[in-house]
């Protein structure tokens, strides 16, 4: 089994294998980039129309004032938990198999946060005034309202973005230093600047190690608090089936769940596209699959606890939402969600014989769909069934919302593809047998 453990490969080969994708660019790569860019442009055009004409071009109405955008927001912030959280846990527990996984995961976090962070701005009625939420000095001495969960959101997400960029960047430095002798001039320049004059001295390695440990601890706490705050956007309101005390942990576990699914999917694609079969082995997919299975069970437990208590409590306004989800208008989404989030991963990953890389891929796609639907089911039915049932309504998204949603997925692809051409997607230096003695 020696060949299947990347740590045992000769370091020179590892270096060559992992730096190779940086210099070669196939036509298929560029076609994908431009196709994805085209979708991004379409989405931006859709947003342009929305800004020009007003929010009326969306399917939003009274009482469903939040729709796709908030769903997408929670979804992307959720996926962002893939990276940092998983990589931080693996680093802190010193899991030996983490090495080829961490950077891919950390990159997901940064890009998902960039995308997810757009939605609070996109969904505003007057998005050009979004900076009014930021506490900046102004002649009228106006402060934003710190009691508003939206402001907590702003603070939480900005903190998280800052933290995860640092967390992604720190372990990039030694690789940048290695790449500073690259043969393409502009890349040489870029890597030299980014490596911050790293020389690989003992002192620097120790400092890096200390910084990584510290950041891993900090980012873990930040990640948990971010999604708790996101859940409080709902839980702090008095709307039926939003005002729930378990929303914090429910959202955090859901976020990690969808994050692992996204990570598995990205790793599967990278493995194929960059020929990393030697580095991302069945072992890694097996471990992550087990993690996904665990989160699937946890998700099911939380969902069950949430619905069971509402059903038993039998409060009329909550039951209107409950019925809408279980057997009403939103029942198809609800049951697809249950199948995608629980049945499929439970069967495919729970039975050892069925647990392979391809079933892990299938489960991941299902979980990503299921978790998007979960957010839809949390946001829309509650608003569609307000306490005054004389005001209830139905929401149907328009092409504008679909286009912007599609654009974010395409944007993720573009960002990730570009990243994988600029930086080695697997941290090379981590494979160095002894960082101090070689080269």
């Amino acid at each position: 089994m020696a060949a299947s453990v990347p740590e045992l490969l000769p370091y020179a080969k590892i270096r060559e294998d992992l730096f190779r994708p940086l210099s070669s660019g196939s036509s298929r790569y560029w076609i994908t980039v431009f196709a994805a860019l085209a979708v991004v442009v379409l989405g931006m055009a859709a947003w342009g129309i929305q800004v020009r004409d007003g929010m009326g071009v969306t399917g939003l109405n009274r009482p469903v004032f939040w729709g796709f955008y908030i769903v997408d927001f929670v979804f992307w912030i959720g996926i962002s938990h893939a990276g940092t959280l998983i990589s931080a846990i693996l680093r802190l527990t010193d899991a030996a198999w983490r090495k080829p996984v961490t950077r891919a995961a950390e990159a997901i976090t940064v890009f998902c946060l960039m995308i997810g962070g757009m939605f609070p701005i996109i969904h505003l009625g007057r998005s050009w005034l979004f900076f009014w939420l930021i506490p900046y000095p102004n002649p009228r001495m106006l402060w934003p309202n710190f009691r508003s969960p939206l402001l907590w959101d702003l603070v939480a997400i900005l903190t998280y973005v800052t933290g995860s960029v640092i967390y992604l960047y720190l372990p990039l430095i030694p690789d940048m230093a290695q790449l500073a002798e690259h043969n393409v001039p502009w890349r040489r320049k870029l890597y030299r600047i980014l490596s911050l004059g790293w020389t690989g001295s003992d002192r620097e390695w120790h400092a890096l190690e200390r910084a990584m440990k510290l950041m891993a601890c900090i980012i873990l706490a930040v990640a948990v608090s971010v999604h708790t705050v996101v859940s409080w956007d709902f839980a702090m309101s008095i709307a039926p089936m939003w005002h729930s005390t378990i929303f914090g942990p429910y959202f955090v576990s859901g976020a990690i769940f969808s994050g692992i699914a996204a990570l598995l999917l990205v790793l599967g694609i990278l493995r194929r596209a960059l020929g990393l079969e030697l580095y991302l082995t069945k072992h890694h997919f097996d471990n992550l699959s087990k993690l996904l299975l665990l989160m699937s069970l946890l998700w099911f437990y939380f969902t069950f606890a949430e619905y069971q208590t509402v059903w038993y409590g039998n409060e009329p306004s909550e039951m209107a939402v409950f019925a809408g989800r279980i057997r009403g208008l939103y029942a198809p989404y609800f049951w697809i969600m249950v199948v995608c989030n629980f049945v499929v991963p439970f069967v495919l990953l729970g039975i050892r014989k069925l647990r392979t890389i391809s079933t892990a891929m299938i489960s991941s796609v299902c979980v990503i769909i299921g978790m998007w639907l979960e957010r839809y089911i949390i946001v829309v039915p509650t608003l569609g069934n307000p306490r005054m049932n004389t005001a209830s309504g139905v929401y149907t998204a328009t092409w504008i919302e679909f286009a912007i949603t599609a654009a974010t997925f395409a944007g993720m692809i573009v960002l990730y593809l570009l990243f994988s051409k600029l930086f080695p997607i697997i941290a090379v230096w981590e494979f160095k047998p002894h960082a101090v003695e070689e080269d």
Binding site: M55, L60, R62, F65, H123, G125, P144, S148, M388
Partner: protein
């Protein structure tokens, strides 16, 4: 404000008056179908019994001007806040349109400007100069005709006399043919509205939520 449900005939004169007074846009049929009408006051209908033996009850619903308003703390820009008089006011200029207030309003009485407002000819000629026209992208709601309250108080000051009870009337109150609605100062225990609000027939809409609404519905106790 108090609204006598036993008097209300559901004629919706209040709705029309509110539209005229507060420069509310007129929704096109397809926008109305999407659920985007804006009526700061609406008349909810509740049916009792089976056809043909049906009883209909009407309940005009407007912003309840809650003392514990759920819409207020959630606004990140203080566009909706409690003013010194206890009114729940909406500052259009400060609103960025997060929709949060509307989602957190249990009465569903907040309205959004989905597009720039439009009026079919010649309704744009009868705009009330005392009321702002709201641009696309901001939230709005019943103000208890704050412009009439301001004018009433100013007139009283100019004429150097105390404000009489019932002198200030929001458009809905003024137009109610059944005189079901009474407006006044709840802080004055002698005012007509205070007495009605304290009567045995007085109820509050979703009062159990603890929002402390300032609209009292009077109905026959069963």
């Amino acid at each position: 404000m108090s609204i006598d449900l036993d008097r209300c005939t559901g004629c919706e004169a209040c709705v029309v008056a509110c539209h005229a007074e507060n420069n509310l846009p007129v929704s096109s049929p397809d926008q109305a179908e999407k659920g985007r009408t804006a009526h700061w006051i609406r008349v909810d209908r509740y049916y009792e019994g089976e056809f043909p033996d049906v009883k209909v009850k009407y309940r005009p619903v407007l912003c309840q001007q809650c003392d514990n308003a759920p819409c207020e703390p959630v606004c990140p820009t203080y566009a909706t806040y409690h003013n010194a008089e206890g009114l729940n006011v909406q500052v259009y200029n400060r609103c960025v349109g997060t929709f949060y207030c509307a989602n957190n309003c249990p009465y569903s009485v907040r309205f959004f400007n989905w597009f720039a407002p439009e009026w079919p000819e010649p309704l744009q000629l009868q705009h009330n100069p005392d009321v702002a026209i709201r641009p696309a992208g901001v939230m709005e709601k019943c103000t208890f005709c704050v412009q009439r309250i301001q004018r009433g108080k100013r007139d009283a000051v100019v004429e150097n006399r105390p404000l009489a009870d019932g002198e200030i009337q929001p458009a809905c109150v003024q137009s109610c043919p059944a005189e079901a609605m009474v407006f006044g100062d709840l802080n004055d225990p002698e005012s007509r509205v205070s007495k009605l609000a304290g009567s045995g027939r007085s109820t509050q809409l979703l009062g159990e939520l603890g929002t402390k609404p300032k609209v009292f519905y009077l109905e026959r106790a069963k």
